[in-house]
């Protein structure tokens, strides 16, 4: 009895933590995964349809809304939607102006996209943990993990894109020579310490995308797991735990979006600075 209950619980948890995966199965070819073992077998050549669907849906919704406002933008008295959009734009714009001192047309829109997109993707978490998977099951979809930022592929995909931008701007602003000199001669400006500096700086550089992507993933995934665990409790007691946890997430969700954006701006600002 206890054993079957615990195995049912772990099945529930595993089910909720598996993405809807489409990939190249060594035996079946390109197909949907029907179990964890299928996903393992597919390896790198697979794609999480649910993560991609929700992330793109939300990204498109965000840009559609902002584009609509941008087209009907007036310098006069703003409407309700325009007000919200402007608030986001002014908030991000001020932050970028205060943090990033170079001249760039990319940084501010990049920061805005990161902030709003991640904020909205995180916000799917406010929906009951079983709501979207249940609807998907009714529609015949086997697995559904709707919070894209609880998928390390999504967060690392963004973090690595930011990393690529860091490398691009470092080399563009400082040149290959300047960038390598910076890596080799800071923090200790002595030829004998070049290997030490290189190790230190390379680790520092590589940690940037890792810390960006894994922080967001860790926070969102952990929150998701806890919601799933709370969902295993009897329904009449759940509110004692999931209400405080959801209220706590009102703080966590914007905070994580903000941190991702802020660190991106700081890293790119460092990439623009000459020593």
């Amino acid at each position: 009895m206890v054993a079957s209950e615990s195995s049912a619980s772990s099945a529930y948890i595993n089910h909720h933590l598996q993405n809807l995966t489409f990939g190249l199965h060594p035996e079946r070819g390109w197909s949907l995964a029907h179990s964890g073992a299928d996903v393992e077998a597919m390896g790198f050549w697979s794609i999480h349809l649910d993560s991609m669907f929700w992330s793109i849906l939300i990204g498109v919704a965000f840009l559609w809304l902002f584009r609509r406002v941008a087209k009907s933008m007036t310098a006069g008295v703003p409407g309700r939607t325009q007000n919200i959009v402007e608030m986001a734009v002014v908030f991000v714009g001020d932050l970028v102006r205060n943090t990033f001192h170079g001249k760039s047309n990319l940084i501010a829109p990049l920061a805005l996209t990161i902030f709003v997109w991640i904020l909205l993707m995180n916000s799917i978490k406010f929906l009951p943990v079983d709501l979207i998977p249940s609807i998907a099951a009714l529609l015949g979809v086997e697995y559904m993990k709707p919070v894209p930022t609880a998928d390390p592929n999504v967060t690392m995909g963004m973090a690595l894109s930011v990393f690529a931008l860091i490398l691009y701007y470092s080399i563009k602003i400082k040149g290959v020579g300047g960038f390598s000199r910076e890596l080799a001669f800071t923090p200790f400006n002595h030829w004998a310490l070049v290997p030490f500096n290189l190790v230190l700086e390379l680790i520092g550089l590589l940690v940037k995308p890792l810390s960006l992507g894994l922080r967001l993933f860790g926070n969102m995934f952990a929150g998701e797991v806890i919601f799933i665990l709370i969902a295993l409790l009897p329904f009449w007691i759940q509110w004692t735990l999931n209400v405080p946890w959801a209220i706590f997430h009102i703080l966590i969700i914007p905070l994580q979006a903000f941190i991702f954006m802020m660190l991106t701006v700081v890293y790119l600002s460092q990439a623009h600075e000459k020593h």
Binding site: I47, F62, V89, N153, M156, G157, S161
Partner: protein, 156 residues
């Protein structure tokens, strides 16, 4: 929990979204915001200018009012002093005229008195002569006694 093509898919969609935001979302919004900022600054400036203008106009009005009040006071004062002077003059003229009339009346009376005295004196003289004639029962030769009569008249 494995890394797979999703990472690349997310990177691609991220790049597209950022590009779209940079191209079509950020510039119109930020330019409209800048325009509004300019408008508000202009509006505040205009309000400041209007306020200064108002202050200036108020000060000017106050100045004009003060000047007018002073002028009115001066005019009233002038009128008052002028009327006082006129009254004073009229009084003086009346006094002088009265005095003159009194003087002339007095002179006339004096004259009357003198002529009455003279007439009285002449009558008294003739009465005295008649009286004397009666007493003497003879006529007095007027020529002989002219001196005497004159002396008598003078004594009366």
């Amino acid at each position: 929990m494995n890394i797979n093509l999703t990472l690349i898919g997310q990177a691609i969609s991220f790049a597209i979204f950022v590009w779209f935001c940079m191209k079509y979302v950020w510039p119109p919004i930020s330019s409209a915001l800048a325009e509004r900022e300019k408008k508000i600054a202009e509006g505040l400036n205009a309000a400041d200018r209007a306020k200064q203008e108002l202050d200036r106009a108020q000060a000017e009005a106050e100045q004009i009012l003060r000047e007018t009040r002073d002028e009115a006071a001066k005019i009233v004062e002038q009128a008052r002093s002028r009327s006082n002077k006129m009254i004073e003059e009229a009084r003086e003229t009346a006094r002088v005229e009265g005095q003159r009339m009194i003087d002339s009346a007095r002179a006339e009376i004096e004259q009357e008195v003198q002529s009455a005295k003279l007439a009285l004196r002449a009558q008294v003289a003739s009465l005295a002569v008649q009286g004397a004639e009666r007493i003497l029962e003879s006529s007095v030769d007027e020529k002989k006694h002219a001196d005497l009569l004159d002396k008598l008249a003078a004594e009366l």
